[in-house]
C-alpha cells in the first residue's frame, strides 16, 4: 500500500509546529531572563557568552519537551500502527491523517513520539540520580577531606574500590533481572536515600541549634518529607500513593548513584582539603564552631562553583550512562521509549533503515552537548569572580 508523504518541507514545518509549547515556554523564559539578567547573578552572566546561551537553550528545550511531552507527541509511544512498519519519514497515518514525522520503526511505532517521550525518562532519572550522588558524595567527602586520618583512608579506599570497577561491568552485575529477585537493590537504596535526610538534618541542626523552636520545625519537616519519600522509594509503600517507583527503575537509579557517588566524593574531598587551609576556616575554628558547622556552612558554600560545574557535566555523563544501559538492554523495559533503547533497536537494522536511528541519536547528543556547553560557560563565569 502506498502511503501519502508530506515531503521534506512538510516534515520540517510539522516538527516546528508540534513543538509549539516549547517555543512559547522558551521565549518566555529567555525573554524574562534577558530582561532581568543584571539581577540574576551567576545565571544572568550566562547570557554574556554565546556558549552559555546555546547551552542553556538546548537544556531548556529538552526540559520543556519532557514537561509538554503529552501535547507535543502526536501518537502514543507504545502503540503500533501495522501499516506504518518501517515507514519513511513524513508518511501519513491513514486513520488519523497525521504524519509520522520521523517515520515508523521496526515495530510500526512513531519514532518522533518515542523520541519526545524518551526525554521524560532521561530528564527524570539523570538529574535526580545526579542529585542523590551529589548528596552521598558530599556527605562522605566533607568529613574525609576535613578530618583526614583514618576516616579519609577508609572512605577513599572504598571510593577507589568502586572507581576501579569498569562502569559497564558494574552495570552488568548490578542491573539484572536476577538481582531484582534479591533484596540487594532495596538495601542499596535504603543506604543511599538516607543520606539526603542526614545531610539536611545536620545542615539545620548545626546552624539553628541555639533556636530550638525553629530547629524543631525544620527537623520535623526534614524527617517528614524525607521519610515520606524514603518509604515511597525504598519500600514502595507510600501511604498517600503518590511516590512509587518500578523495581527496574529503582535498580537503575541505585546503580547510577552507586557508580557516580565516588566521583563526587573525590572532588568534594579535594576541594575541602584545599579550602580548609583558608583563613575564614581558621577563624571559625577559633570561634569554637563545631566541625560539622564549619564543613556545611563555611567550606561547602565556598566549594559551590566547581560543584555546580561538576553537577552539570555529571548530569550529561549520567545521560550517557542511561543510554549505555538502554543500548545493552539492561534494566529498562524493551519497549521503553528512552533514547538508549531506541538506539539499540535501530542500530541493528542500520543497513536497511537509517531513519529510526537518527532521532534518538541526535536527541541524546544534543542534550549532553547542551549540558557540556552550559558547564563550560559556568566554569568560565565562576573563574571570573
Amino acid at each position: 500500500m502506498q502511503l501519502d508523504n508530506v515531503g521534506v518541507l512538510g516534515i520540517l514545518l510539522g516538527v516546528i509546529a508540534r513543538f509549539w509549547p516549547v517555543w512559547i515556554a522558551l521565549a518566555i523564559i529567555l525573554g524574562l531572563s534577558l530582561r532581568y539578567k543584571k539581577r540574576l547573578g551567576l545565571y544572568g552572566h550566562l547570557f554574556d557568552t554565546g556558549v552559555g546561551i546555546a547551552g542553556l537553550t538546548i537544556c531548556l528545550f529538552w526540559l520543556f519537551t519532557a514537561i509538554f511531552a503529552d501535547v507535543i507527541a502526536p501518537f502514543d509511544p507504545l502503540s503500533q500502527f501495522l501499516v506504518m512498519k518501517n515507514a519513511a519519514p513524513g508518511a501519513v497515518e491513514p486513520d488519523s491523517g497525521m504524519a509520522f514525522l520521523f517515520g515508523g520503526d521496526r515495530l510500526a511505532r512513531d519514532v518522533f513520539s518515542r523520541m519526545v517521550f524518551g526525554s521524560q525518562i532521561v530528564l527524570v532519572i539523570a538529574p535526580t540520580a545526579t542529585l542523590f550522588a551529589l548528596m552521598v558524595g558530599t556527605t562522605l567527602g566533607l568529613p574525609a577531606g576535613y578530618y583526614g586520618g583514618w576516616i579519609d583512608n577508609v572512605l577513599s579506599f572504598l571510593a577507589n574500590l568502586v572507581l576501579a570497577f569498569p562502569v559497564i561491568l558494574l552495570f552488568y552485575l548490578l542491573v539484572t533481572p536476577g538481582i531484582r529477585e534479591t533484596p540487594i537493590p532495596q538495601w542499596l537504596a535504603g543506604v543511599f536515600f538516607v543520606f539526603p535526610v542526614i545531610f539536611f538534618a545536620t545542615l539545620f541542626y548545626t546552624r539553628y541549634r541555639s533556636r530550638p523552636g525553629l530547629l524543631a520545625v525544620q527537623l520535623a519537616a526534614t524527617v517528614l518529607v524525607g521519610g515520606w519519600v524514603y518509604v515511597g522509594l525504598v519500600f514502595d509503600a507510600d501511604p498517600l500513593g503518590i511516590i512509587s517507583i518500578e523495581p527496574n527503575e529503582l535498580n537503575i537509579f541505585v546503580a547510577v548513584v552507586f557508580a557516580s557517588a565516588p566521583g563526587v566524593f573525590r572532588i568534594v574531598r579535594g576541594l575541602v582539603m584545599d579550602i580548609k587551609t583558608r583563613d575564614y576556616v581558621a577563624a571559625a575554628q577559633t570561634r569554637g564552631e563545631s566541625p560539622w558547622y564549619i564543613m556545611l556552612w563555611e567550606v561547602l558554600p565556598n566549594a559551590r562553583g566547581p560543584l555546580i560545574v561538576d553537577a552539570c557535566l555529571r548530569i550529561g555523563y549520567t545521560t550517557i550512562l542511561l543510554g549505555t544501559l538502554g543500548y545493552f538492554g539492561l534494566g529498562l523495559a524493551p519497549e521503553s521509549p528512552d533514547w538508549g533503547t531506541g538506539i539499540k533497536e535501530s542500530s541493528r537494522l542500520l543497513r536497511l533503515h537509517v531513519h529510526p536511528a537518527l532521532p534518538p541519536v541526535v536527541a541524546l547528543m544534543s542534550f549532553v552537548l547542551g549540558l557540556n556547553l552550559l558547564a563550560d560557560a559556568l566554569r568560565e563565569q565562576s573563574l571570573k569572580d
Binding site: A164, P166, I168, T176, G323, L350
Partner: protein, 345 residues
C-alpha cells in the same frame, strides 16, 4: 620511590581481593545460579533437577570455601560420581584433577567457561590479543590528534582557532561510542559505502583499513575531546610562564618557542590524563566490540555476563580491574618521573 611503589602494589592487591570477593558474591546469587543451571540443562528441567545439578557440581558448598578454592588457598576437591566412586570432571571440556589439590587463580588456573565450553585461559588470551590490536590503533589515532588539537587551541588563548577547537572538543565529549558509531556507520557504510559497518571479518581474516576504520574512529572520538581540553589547559598555563616570555623577548620565533620551550612542559599533564583514560576506554571497548561484532575482550565480557559464566566473568573482572589499577600506578609514577617538582612520599 621504591617503597611508594611497593605500598601501592599492596593496596592494589587488597583492592583486587575485595573486588573479586564482591564479584564472586554477585555472580553466585541464587537467581544467577538458577540461570546457570538452566542454561546447562534445559528450559524444562524441574526444580529438583536444577537443584541436584547445582549440588553435584559443588555450587552448594560453603561460599567462603568456594571462594578459597577459586582463589587457590583451599584445595579443590575432585568431583566423585556417587554411583561408580570414580572422579569425573565437572565439565567434560575442562580436565580437572582426580585428586584434591590447590588449583585456583593464584596457581594460574582461572577455571572453566561454561558458555564457550573451554578453559577460561583459552578463551581470554586470544580475546585480549584482539582487544590489544584495537587499543593500539585507537591510541595511535587518539593521542596525536588530541594533542595536536589541544596544543593548537592552547597556543593562543582566546583566539578564533581556540574557540573553534574548543567547541569541537566539547562536541566530541558529548558523543559516546554508541552515538558516534551509529552516525559513522550511517555516513560511511550506509550512504557512502566506503567502509565496512562490521569488524567481524577482522577477527578471522585480519585487520584491514576497510573493516577496522569505523571501530577505531568510533572509540577514538569520545576520548579526543577530553584529552584535548586537558592539553589545552596545560598549554595555556605554560604559555603564561616567565620563561616563555624570556624566549619570545630574546627574539625566537613563535613556532620555535612553542616547539622547543612550551611543548615539552605542556605535555606532562596530558600524560596522566591519557593513562587515566584507560578505564574509560574499557567501557568503550565493550560498546564498540558489541556494535561492530569484533570478538575481543569486551565481546567476551558481555557474553560472560549475559550467560552468567561465573569463571569467565570473574577472570574478566580481574583483568579489567588490573588494567585500571596498573594504569593509575603508571600515571602516578610517570608523573613524578616527568615532573621533577613533584615528590612522592
Amino acid at each position: 620511590m621504591l617503597s611508594f611503589i611497593l605500598r601501592r602494589l599492596g593496596v592494589m592487591a587488597l583492592t583486587m581481593l575485595c573486588l573479586s570477593l564482591v564479584v564472586f558474591f554477585l555472580v553466585n546469587l541464587e537467581p544467577n545460579l538458577k540461570k546457570l543451571a538452566i542454561s546447562q540443562l534445559d528450559m524444562r528441567s524441574s526444580a529438583e533437577d536444577l537443584e541436584s545439578w547445582l549440588q553435584r557440581n559443588g555450587y552448594r558448598q560453603n561460599f567462603f570455601v568456594r571462594y578459597g578454592q577459586w582463589l587457590g588457598v583451599m584445595p579443590k576437591q575432585p568431583n566423585i560420581d556417587p554411583e561408580t566412586g570414580q572422579a569425573v570432571p565437572r565439565f567434560s571440556y575442562c580436565d580437572e584433577p582426580a585428586v584434591a589439590r590447590y588449583s585456583g587463580v593464584l596457581q594460574g588456573d582461572f577455571g572453566c567457561s561454561t558458555k564457550f565450553k573451554v578453559p577460561v585461559g583459552e578463551k581470554l588470551v586470544p580475546a585480549l590479543g584482539a582487544t590489544g590490536i584495537l587499543m593500539f590503533w585507537v591510541m595511535a589515532v587518539m593521542v596525536p590528534v588530541s594533542l595536536l588539537i589541544g596544543v593548537l587551541a592552547g597556543m593562543r588563548e582566546g583566539s578564533r582557532t581556540d574557540r573553534a577547537l574548543s567547541v569541537v572538543s566539547i562536541t566530541t565529549t558529548a558523543t559516546p561510542e554508541y552515538i558516534s558509531g551509529v552516525i559513522f556507520t550511517v555516513i560511511f557504510a550506509s550512504w557512502l559505502g566506503w567502509l565496512n559497518g562490521s569488524a567481524a571479518s577482522a577477527t578471522n581474516s585480519g585487520v584491514t583499513f576497510y573493516n577496522f576504520t569505523l571501530p577505531v574512529m568510533t572509540m577514538a572520538i569520545y576520548g579526543i575531546g577530553y584529552i584535548a581540553r586537558m592539553t589545552r589547559a596545560s598549554m595555556v598555563e605554560v604559555m603564561t610562564q616567565q620563561y616563555i616570555r624570556t624566549a619570545r623577548l630574546k627574539g625566537l620565533s613563535f613556532p620555535a618557542v612553542v616547539l622547543k620551550h612550551a611543548l615539552r612542559n605542556a605535555l606532562i599533564a596530558p600524560f596522566t590524563v591519557i593513562m587515566l583514560q584507560f578505564p574509560w576506554l574499557l567501557t568503550g571497548v565493550v560498546i564498540v566490540e558489541v556494535m561492530f561484532r569484533y570478538q575481543g575482550f569486551g565481546f567476551t565480557l558481555v557474553e560472560a555476563a549475559a550467560n552468567n559464566d561465573i569463571d569467565l566473568l570473574l577472570a574478566c573482572s580481574l583483568v579489567s580491574v588490573l588494567v585500571v589499577l596498573s594504569t593509575q600506578l603508571i600515571s602516578d609514577v610517570g608523573y613524578a618521573l616527568l615532573n621533577p617538582r613533584i615528590r612522592v612520599q
